[in-house]
Structures are given as structure tokens and as C-alpha cells.
């Protein structure tokens, strides 16, 4: 598995180990290093994880509303896109940025490839763990598939109608 990802438009090495439940839902956490764990797992194991470098990963049906601490407690928050057609993570990203003021690294993981990066970036994602079987150098270009947008987004909060010169 390639261990590179895109952060802020650079291709860099991934320093976080993502912990994914096995088929039975069991979670095994490596004993050292920075870990990205499922949000539900973190909720249940906060005490054990205290003191470690931990990031949380929201599943599509997790609710950022339920986060018991300030989002900025985390240096990194990820959202999982098990399939790219599940757009719930877009809303989660947007809520984390706009409603909960999260300023750290917001990472998209899962079914992430060139054709989703533009939308993801506009929902506040700054890091993209591109699927291992896809060409990351090709994928990064997708961020700029569109450079002009009608509606309000995280990266450009003012909709086009506030930016467009108004001609009488």
C-alpha cells in the first residue's frame, strides 16, 4: 500500500496509522505512533488513549454534533467515504469547519480519487488519502477541476454573487 497522501496540495508521507475494525468489529491499536481511530472507538476508549497522539475518523452516520470535546482538541480529523457516492461526509466536513470551527487537518479517507477532490476541497477537506490503486499525481489535479463556483463553500465562503462585479 502506498503510504503517501495529499496535504495542502503537496504529496507527502502519511505519518498516521489508520486503525480499522476487523470483520467482527474488533479493533487492534498499535502500541506506538500517531493513530487514526474510528470516532466510536475513541468515544469508548478515551481514557486508554489519553496521552497518545490520536486522531478520529468519522463514519458517514456519525454525528459531529455529538463530539464531547472541542474539535480543535485534535490535530487531525478524518471522514471515511466507504463509497464515493455516499455524500454524508461532505456535510460532516462542512459542519466541522463552519459550525464547529475546526482548523486542523481535515482528511478524506476511503473511496477517494481524482473526481471527488474538488468537491471535498470545497467542503473543507485539506488532506486526501487517495485510493492506493489510483495515481496520486493524476488525482491531485482534480482539486482544480473547477476554479470558479456559484455557491458558498468552506474555502471560498462568499458565493459568486458577492464576488461577481455587478454590471447595471
Amino acid at each position: 500500500m502506498s503510504n503517501q497522501l495529499i496535504i495542502n496540495r503537496d504529496i507527502v508521507d502519511n505519518r498516521w496509522t489508520r486503525v480499522v475494525p476487523d470483520a467482527e468489529g474488533g479493533v487492534s491499536v498499535p502500541s506506538e505512533g500517531a493513530i487514526l481511530v474510528p470516532y466510536q472507538y475513541w468515544l469508548g476508549h478515551r481514557d486508554e488513549l489519553a496521552g497518545r497522539e490520536v486522531a478520529i475518523c468519522f463514519a458517514p452516520d456519525d454525528e459531529p454534533e455529538s463530539l464531547p470535546v472541542d474539535a480543535n482538541t485534535f490535530a487531525m480529523i478524518a471522514c471515511d467515504f466507504p463509497v464515493f457516492t455516499d455524500g454524508r461526509g461532505f456535510s460532516i466536513g462542512r459542519l466541522l469547519r463552519v459550525r464547529y470551527g475546526f482548523t486542523g487537518e481535515l482528511r478524506a479517507v476511503g473511496d477517494v480519487f481524482k473526481d471527488t477532490l474538488n468537491y471535498l476541497a470545497r467542503c473543507g477537506f485539506t488532506a486526501f488519502e487517495v485510493r492506493a490503486d489510483k495515481d496520486i499525481n493524476e488525482a491531485i489535479k482534480g482539486i482544480d477541476d473547477f476554479t470558479e463556483f456559484y455557491q458558498s463553500s468552506v474555502d471560498v465562503p462568499n458565493p459568486l454573487f458577492l464576488r461577481r462585479p455587478v454590471t447595471a
Binding site: N118, C123, D145, Y150, F161, V166
Partner: protein, 560 residues
């Protein structure tokens, strides 16, 4: 009409480039079928029974003549010389080659057209009243609001992958010609006692497998909040709409499961965060959009043109066409004309490249260069001088677009059905034709008055059969094509879902079944009563009795 500036053009051009690259990667094996499918669908490209099918957006049904000519050119160059206008005010090409689609989109972009969000699980092309801006019963012109919604919904990043398709319709007239009650969001633009504009918001209507009438969740929304409120509705749907079952994924299921009251409350809660945010409409933006929909250079004319009145008196055929296909205009001396695409023997909604070129010329000559598409699958010239109606009629006759049947039994709304659509259980075009042939006597048709006949080739209801006064639904029975009849449906402000009357019929029985339904109507009719009014008065029983007379009583589960 809305005209692109550099921003709009850039967005559409970038889409063409993006899609070109996606197609290239797909053909090179870099994108799988499963990856490419949602991407191409959001560009209107289906893979159908016989070939790919490309759906092109016609925002709220408005076209300029140059755009109509481009549609004709593409039909000649990349298709079999015809196009199909749909109940969603869009247009479809039935035979493009997948490799040619990027080029077709590039050509469309030169006339400010595209296939963006004409399919797929995203916010679809917003639809409206085909007589918007000219209707004699208009309260508020819905088009500027449609355009504001168009821009907001185009490539909305948060709502690019919703649980399911999402359709918005806007109506601003006394009569609802946009079918707002059977859309995911239906908007009535209103005026209050103080003369201020506001919106009435319905959510959760829709046809298909589980037909439902929308619920009013916001009786009055101030214009500046339109987009923030829509954002709140969509966010609730995006997060909580079902994704585990495609058949339960539409917003109507969510609204019903939560109850409309709880859904509305959830939206209010969400909206509280959005309200007054950057997406709040400014007066300048509202005014900017209104500037594109100002009246054309109307002349000051008498309310009734003397020559026109004389022509009607002298020529019964012309008078008949005027009665059915000419709609009262709000400006004295003008009229809106419906060109019927429902000539017997032609699939409803089809037009050839030559006809399209002719229509473009008629639009230039008679109607300020504009054409519209109705959800009844007809074309409209919205601003014709009464004094030119006779000349227009003669031209329309020549093209084959002057069948005087708008609103009558042969103005059948019909999906492509088994002839083109991979999802169909049965053909619908031949049944529509058989019905048209059976009722080909114009005098008789006129006597029967208004009857909406809507046909769909399967439960997806693309032909809106649930809201037809007479609905026909193709069903599969032991691998044979059968047709189920619903009666009593209607669209508009008192929209209702029709009821199945009983077991289905074989294709060859359909014209007789129609005749029997009509016979019952005629036998029970008082004066000039409409079909739907007779139905409401006498109920379904007399129709059932006649239609199933002498038939062995078979038990069959209604396939609704």
C-alpha cells in the same frame, strides 16, 4: 432570458474539460464501470437499451433560437436526426456514441447549454411553468427564482452525492402548471397583503414507486432566505435520507418517516445556523437575476386584433386550433402558442432536426427568438402577436406541429418505455399511438373536452401516470407486457394520485379499454363537464363495471 457571463461560461467549459478527461480515463480502463456510472450520469449520460442516451438540460424549459438550432445540428451530426422532449423540460438524444459525448457537450457549451445534473443522485434541473412571465394568471414571475436556484444547485459540493435524485419545481401563477406538489421540493411564489414576495415550501412529493403529494413545511419564506433554507432542507436530507435501500431513498420517505412536522422542525433547527450566512440573497443579486427576465419589446396593441377575430370566425379549423393551442397572455394583443408534438403516429415529444430548425425560425419570426418546453412534452412560442397567429398556424401546420389537441385525450404524456428504456416493463409509445388512432376524430375529441392521459412504461412513473386523469402503467405479467389503468389522478393545486381500477390488460385491448372508459364518461356527463369532474361525482365503480364487463373475475395484486 438568462445570458451567461464569463463566470457561467467558465464553469460550463471546465465541466466539458473534466468530462472529456473522465471519458478518456474510462475508455483507457483507468475508471471502472462503477466509478464512471455516477460521473457520467451527473452529465446526463445513461446507458440504455439500444445505445447511450444523453439528456441535455433546459433550465426551467427556456431556449433561444440559436440553442434550438444547435440541438438540431447535434441531432444531425451525432444522432439519428431527432430528439425527444421530456416531462422534465429537458431534451434527450437516444443514439449518441459514448466517445462523441464530450464533443457534443463542447458544442452545447458554445450556446450556453450542457448536461449538468440532468441525472444522477443530485439536484436536478429546476422546472417551472411553461407560461412563466406571460401567463394571464401569473402572480409572480418564477423565472428569476428558478435561475437563482439553478446557480446555487449547480455543482453544489455538499450535495453532489445525495441519497437519490432531487427535483425542485417553482410556480408563480394562480393555476399550478409546474406540478409543485409532486416534486421533492415544490415552491409557490406568492404575494402577501402588503404586496411582498414570499415562498410557500412543500417537501416530499414525488411519483415513482411510492407516489406522494408534498407537505407544506414553510407557509411563508422571505426571498432573501431562499438559498439558506434550501441548504437546510438538503442538509437534513443528505445526512438522514436512507441510503440502504434505493427504493426508500427519496426525501418523501424521510419526510413521511419523521412526520412532516418533525421534518420541518429539524429543518428549522438546521436553518437557524445557516440563516443570515453568506448565502443570504442580497437585493443586488435578486435584482440582477430579475434583469434577465424583463418583458421583450411589446407593442401597444388592442386587446382583440380585428383581423384575428375575423379569421377565427371565417375559419373553423383555425378557430379550433386557437381554442386548444393558444393561451391567454397578460399583455393585450399577444398570445402564447403551444406547438403540439402529439401528432398521431409520432412518438409523443419527438421532433426531427428539420422541425427544430423550423421552430427556431418561427421563434425568430414570431416570438422574440424564444422557445419553451412544457412538462406536457410540447413546445411553446410565448409572445406571439394576435395579428400573426394565422400566419403562424399555417407555418405550424406545414411542420406538423399544429395538431389542435392540447389538453385533449390525444395530447398523451408518455415516457420512452420499452422502445428505448432499459428499465421498462412494457412499451408505451405504441399504446399512445393506438389510443391516438382510436380517437382521431377531431370533432369527437373536442366534444370530450379536457382529459389528461399519462403513460409510463414502468413504476418509475417518468410519464407521470399517477397524476393523469387516466393513467396507464406498463407492468410485467409472466414476461408479457400488460397495462394497468389508474383513474382520478390530477396535477395542479389539488393534485391527487389516481387509483388502480383492477387487473391489467394486454396491449391489443388498450384502445377498447379507453373507448369503454370514455363511453362511461359520455353517458354520465352533464353538460360540458370535464372527465375528472364526472369521475369525482360518480366514482370509479361505473368505469370498472364497464371495463371488466363479461371478463372472468381474475384476482391480481395491484402492482403499485
Amino acid at each position: 432570458m438568462y445570458i451567461y457571463d464569463d463566470y457561467d461560461q467558465k464553469i460550463v467549459d471546465q465541466r466539458v474539460a473534466q468530462y472529456r478527461d473522465q471519458t478518456r480515463r474510462y475508455l483507457a480502463g483507468e475508471l471502472t464501470d462503477d466509478e464512471f456510472r455516477p460521473l457520467r450520469l451527473q452529465n446526463g449520460l445513461y446507458i440504455q437499451r439500444l445505445a447511450p442516451m444523453l439528456r441535455v438540460a433546459i433550465p426551467y424549459g427556456h431556449l433561444r433560437s440559436a440553442q434550438v438550432r444547435k440541438l438540431a445540428e447535434l441531432a444531425r451530426k451525432y444522432d439519428k436526426g431527432y430528439v425527444h422532449f421530456t416531462t422534465r423540460q429537458n431534451v434527450q438524444y437516444n443514439w449518441p456514441a459514448l466517445e462523441n459525448v464530450p464533443e457534443m457537450l463542447a458544442e452545447l457549451a458554445t450556446v450556453q447549454m450542457h448536461g449538468i445534473q440532468t441525472s444522477g443522485a443530485c439536484i436536478r434541473n429546476t422546472t417551472s411553468d411553461q407560461f412563466a412571465g406571460v401567463a394571464h394568471d401569473e402572480i409572480v414571475d418564477p423565472r428569476p427564482w428558478c435561475e437563482i436556484i439553478r446557480q446555487w444547485s449547480t455543482f453544489h459540493p455538499e450535495f453532489a452525492h445525495l441519497p437519490r435524485k432531487f427535483k425542485i419545481a417553482v410556480n408563480g401563477a394562480a393555476e399550478d402548471r409546474a406540478a409543485v406538489l409532486v416534486h421533492d421540493i415544490g415552491i409557490n411564489v406568492k404575494l402577501n397583503a402588503a404586496g411582498e414576495v414570499g415562498f410557500e415550501i412543500y417537501v416530499g412529493g414525488g411519483l415513482g414507486r411510492t407516489p406522494m403529494i408534498g407537505d407544506l413545511i414553510k407557509p411563508w419564506l422571505e426571498p432573501k432566505h431562499l438559498l439558506t433554507y434550501l441548504n437546510a432542507v438538503l442538509r437534513v436530507y443528505n445526512r438522514y435520507g436512507r441510503r440502504d435501500n434505493k427504493y426508500k431513498a427519496r426525501i418523501k420517505i424521510l419526510v413521511k418517516a419523521m412526520t412532516p412536522e418533525a421534518f420541518a422542525a429539524k429543518v428549522e433547527q438546521e436553518w437557524a445556523f445557516e440563516k443570515d450566512g453568506p448565502q443570504t440573497l442580497t437585493d443586488a443579486e435578486i435584482a440582477r437575476n430579475h434583469r434577465f427576465f424583463t418583458a421583450p419589446a411589446y407593442e401597444t396593441l388592442p386587446a382583440d386584433d380585428a383581423e384575428f377575430v375575423a379569421a377565427k370566425a371565417a375559419n373553423p379549423a383555425f378557430a379550433r386550433w386557437v381554442e386548444r393551442n393558444v393561451f391567454a397572455h397578460k399583455v393585450p394583443g399577444y398570445a402564447a402558442v403551444t406547438l403540439s408534438l402529439k401528432k398521431t403516429g409520432v412518438p409523443p415529444g419527438d421532433a426531427t432536426d428539420a422541425q427544430l430548425d423550423d421552430v427556431a425560425n418561427l421563434a425568430d419570426r414570431f416570438s422574440f427568438g424564444e422557445v419553451r418546453v412544457s412538462h406536457g412534452q410540447n413546445l411553446i412560442l410565448a409572445d406571439v402577436k394576435q395579428s400573426q397567429l394565422f400566419a403562424l398556424w399555417e407555418e405550424a401546420k406545414r411542420i406538423g406541429f399544429a395538431t389542435p389537441n392540447i389538453g385533449l385525450l390525444t395530447d398523451v404524456i408518455c415516457c420512452p418505455g420499452g422502445d428505448f428504456c432499459a428499465l421498462a416493463n412494457a412499451k408505451s409509445i405504441p399504446v399512445a399511438q393506438a389510443i391516438q388512432e382510436r380517437f382521431d376524430n377531431l370533432d369527437y375529441l373536442f366534444d370530450l373536452g379536457e382529459i389528461d392521459v399519462n403513460m409510463s412504461g414502468c413504476i418509475n412513473a417518468c410519464g407521470h401516470h399517477h397524476v393523469g386523469n387516466i393513467g396507464v402503467l406498463g407492468v410485467d405479467k409472466n414476461n408479457a407486457e400488460y397495462y394497468q389503468i389508474t383513474l382520478g389522478g390530477r396535477q395542479g393545486a389539488d393534485a391527487k394520485i389516481g387509483k388502480v381500477i383492477g387487473p391489467s390488460f394486454a396491449q391489443e385491448e388498450m384502445p377498447d379499454v379507453m373507448s369503454k372508459i370514455i363511453d362511461v364518461f359520455v353517458a354520465n356527463r352533464e353538460g360540458e363537464e370535464r372527465f375528472i369532474d364526472v369521475f369525482d361525482r360518480i366514482g370509479a365503480e361505473p368505469f370498472k363495471a364497464k371495463v371488466y364487463e363479461g371478463k372472468p373475475i381474475r384476482k391480481e395484486k395491484a402492482d403499485v
